[in-house]
């Protein structure tokens, strides 16, 4: 596609539920990033994929968070047993290779009630 696409754009879920957020990067981009942006703050790094593998997942806050990219293109961020503190904008970005410009999607707003 023309840009990074994220779905859903908005998600409201109940505390304790499971959530999946999807990211479709720019075609051909091998590097893919997930960030989380809470209200009033800058985005914080969660995880970075190079191809299919998670090259750096040091930003995932705990084991309720997991991300996959099985075919090296689309990625899914999975959150188990959601908590109200997980409410945030989840941003995905991609680049053609590390070091090149990264392009962000418009994000998925997650609200846990």
């Amino acid at each position: 596609g023309a840009g990074v696409s994220q779905t859903p754009s908005n998600k409201v879920t109940e505390k304790g539920k499971y959530v999946e957020l999807r990211c479709d990067p720019i075609s051909g981009h091998t590097a893919l990033y997930w960030y989380r942006q809470s209200l009033g703050q800058g985005p914080e790094f969660l995880i970075y994929f190079q191809g299919t593998g998670a090259a750096d997942d040091s930003g995932l806050p705990n084991d309720r968070f997991f991300a996959v990219r099985p075919e090296g293109s689309v990625s899914t961020l999975k959150i188990q047993r959601t908590e109200r503190g997980d409410s945030a904008m989840y941003l995905c970005a991609s680049s053609s290779k590390p070091g090149n410009t990264i392009y962000f999607g418009e994000g998925s707003w997650l609200t846990v009630v």
């Binding site: 960030y35 009033g40 703050q41 800058g42 970005a93 070091g99 994000g107």
Partner: protein, 113 residues
Amino acid sequence: AQSVTQLDSHVSVSEGTPVLLRCNYSSSYSPSLFWYVQHPNKGLQLLLKYTSAATLVKGINGFEAEFKKSETSFHLTKPSAHMSDAAEYFCVVSEHNFNKFYFGSGTKLNVKP
């Protein structure tokens, strides 16, 4: 360790007057530095980046930034503000391998008619 400090959470200017958004960074390596803009309900858009070439970097929409190593600063400027510049601006530093990007907390720019 890498970090970014944006000194002003809010900046207000009149249309047609200069813009200055301040950013200081700390980095253990020779940093790469970026400015991104985020309009309401939109994704992050790259304005400009510094990657150890010319210290004065020109970006889109008339913005530019100067890398000053002695001051560890990377302030964003524009000679004449336009109403469409009203948005939130993020200063970003990346590690030498570009796997992670560290965002500042953001500066909201208000442009008055």
